[in-house]
């Protein structure tokens, strides 16, 4: 019975938890590179690709080309995996780009409805130069399945939001970052090396992950 287990566990834990150890405080990591180059190198090692940094005016065009390129190069996809879906924020950042037929993710979509998405375009909060990771939160992508179901992922990231390391990246997140159900750090595409240590991308999630970095303000960036 869970209730009595709870009391028993807490009682047992108290016996072994004398509250004597001090908290070590924050760790101060030496400041390493936080520029686009560092980020791009790290992301490449993780199997992803960084693009830019682009001026705001060029962002939408680049993303459009990239999305089309990823979609067209995917010969493995079934015929009905053709949708290109952008999160609300990503769509705002891109403005209206002629030639890119994309859907904006609508709230209340059933998670399974994203099963036939070929390319997802989402907006990242913060990037990490030491790993190439980008944080995507529920504020941008409330329906998380979009992140992992799509065959290809494109993340938009402001250059100013690239932090040197994970300590600084976490510190740079908005205060309410965990209030939107999820905060997901994406570092390159889905991958596995479970079969004879051979690296394969797209184990379950996206086969490719691109991060398009842009300078300055774009569209109606709410941040």
């Amino acid at each position: 019975m869970s209730r009595s287990d709870r009391e028993a566990i807490l009682a047992a834990v108290r016996r072994g938890a004398p509250h004597r150890q001090p908290h070590p405080g924050a760790h101060r990591a030496p400041a390493l590179g936080s520029g686009f180059e560092s980020f791009a190198t790290s992301l490449a090692e993780a199997g992803g690709l960084a693009h830019g940094p682009f001026a705001p005016a060029d962002l939408a065009g680049c993303v459009a080309n990239l999305a089309r390129a990823r979609a067209d190069a995917d010969h493995d996809a079934d015929g009905d995996n053709e949708r290109i879906v952008a999160s609300h924020r990503a769509a705002e950042l891109l403005g209206s780009e002629p030639g890119l037929l994309l859907e904006t993710a609508s709230p209340g979509t059933r998670p399974h409805d994203y099963a036939n998405v070929r390319v997802a375009i989402l907006s990242g909060e913060v990037g990490v130069a030491e790993s190439g990771a980008v944080a995507v939160s529920g504020a941008d992508t409330p329906e998380r399945s979009l992140l992992v179901l799509s065959r290809h992922l494109i993340l938009l990231l402001p250059a100013a939001e690239i932090a040197a390391d994970l300590h600084r990246a976490f510190a740079a997140l908005p205060d309410d970052t965990l209030a939107h159900h999820h905060l997901t750090w994406v570092c390159g595409p889905s991958k596995t090396a479970d079969i004879e240590q051979t690296l394969v991308y797209g184990a379950h999630g996206p086969l490719t992950t691109d991060v398009v970095v842009f300078r300055g303000n774009c569209g109606h960036d709410p941040r």
């Binding site: 869970s2 209730r3 287990d5 028993a8 566990i9 807490l10 047992a12 834990v13 016996r15 072994g16 938890a17 509250h19 004597r20 150890q21 001090p22 908290h23 070590p24 924050a26 760790h27 030496p30 790290s42 993780a46 493995d76 059933r110 998670p111 399974h112 099963a115 990490v128 030491e130 790993s131 190439g132 990771a133 329906e143 998380r144 399945s145 992140l147 992992v148 390391d165 994970l166 300590h167 976490f170 965990l178 209030a179 159900h181 999820h182 905060l183 997901t184 750090w185 570092c187 595409p189 889905s190 596995t192 479970d194 079969i195 004879e196 051979t198 394969v200 797209g202 184990a203 999630g205």
Partner: protein, 456 residues
Amino acid sequence: MRAPPLERRARRVLPNDAAVARHDAAVYDLRRRRDAAAARVPDWEALREHARALKHYSLDHLDTLLLRFEKRALAAGADVHWAIDAAALCDIVGGLLEERGVHRVVKSKSMLTEECALNPSLARRGIEVVDTDLGERIVQLAGEPPSHIIVPAIHKSRAEIGALFHEKMGTPAGETDPERLTRLARRNLRQHFLQAEAGITGANFAIAETGSLVVVTNEGNADLGMSLPPLHVACLGIEKLIPTLEDLPTLLRLLARSATGQAQSAYTSLVTGPRPGGSLHIVLVDNGRSRLLADPTHRASLACIRCGACLNTCPVYRRAGGHSYAPPIPGPIGAVLAPARGAGPESDALPLASSLCGSCSAVCPVKIDLHEQLLAWRGEAPQMGLGEGTAIRLAALVLRHPTLYRRAGRWLRRAWPLLSRRWPGNPVSGWLRGRELPAHPGPSFEERMRQRGSSQ
């Protein structure tokens, strides 16, 4: 005396020298990658110390952290359950699934659920659990336990996996290309994800301050399992609690680098409360952890973040293989945690199966003194065979008396030619399995000094 269980099991795999060499090379490669990743982090050793201190603080305040976590998780809309042992976990999860008429479940990697034998328990209730981590799926289909905590099927060749997939998933016969096999598994498992009624995950960490769970994968399978089915069940050991969000980066920076040499895993997901339209049930599991917590010598083993670095560096694990250990966890951390479980002689003998080289302690991201823990277990539960206790007391007696010691030494040298040959009952027969005795050593140093002294 009968050889310890690990030696007996290892004797079945050691004759296949090629397979042993392959396993050793594949696993050591992970150690090399770890080294390369660590070398690029200027504050690596400081980070390890910080992680050690964070974990020890967390364990030292675990009651407070558990209560805070429960409160915040409940406020975020999750349900929180407490399971005192494996049976309780199985009961709670089984009950949750049965209540909802769930029959199709996907599960991502969780050593805790292995420890508690959750899958068999659910199977007995008619609930099919599909392990979605590719390595776990492979061993699940093969009906084997995982042989490594990060790469569960590292002991299997592509040919074996291809044959297994052909038999169990209907993939083309003779397909052995890892990329194509992975794609085939992706397609097969995608269907399971889309049809699943519940997703079971573990958690790498749980943040008390926010009531959040942290789940780390490279495949993204946990994310599919958490975001598609309406029910998410997260099972975690109580030792996974950490105080605040700020404490997380240190542990994350060490985790992937220690496990596979990556700077960060592909997906590091922090979830707080259920997904929109779904429900989240968190099960906090004790199963002996609170008892370990109260043990001053061994509580450090609760700091483990399940990175597998100790396995990768262990000279014994790399040759003997994961299946030579007792389930669920092999390698040094497995041998350290096993005796605490009271699971019987197979587990109790594991601390003996180590040369105590200390490499594990040196790679552990949270600086658990693994090799000292193994030695301490030997002191607490000496694995003595019949008559061995007497032999040890006799040997100590001889060594406390120089006259007896010197006489024993003379007998040893007289018997040297006899001892050098293999015959039943030879007291050094253990040594002779695989080695010769050195050449006859001649007079002892003490004898030579005595002669030197008397001739001066």
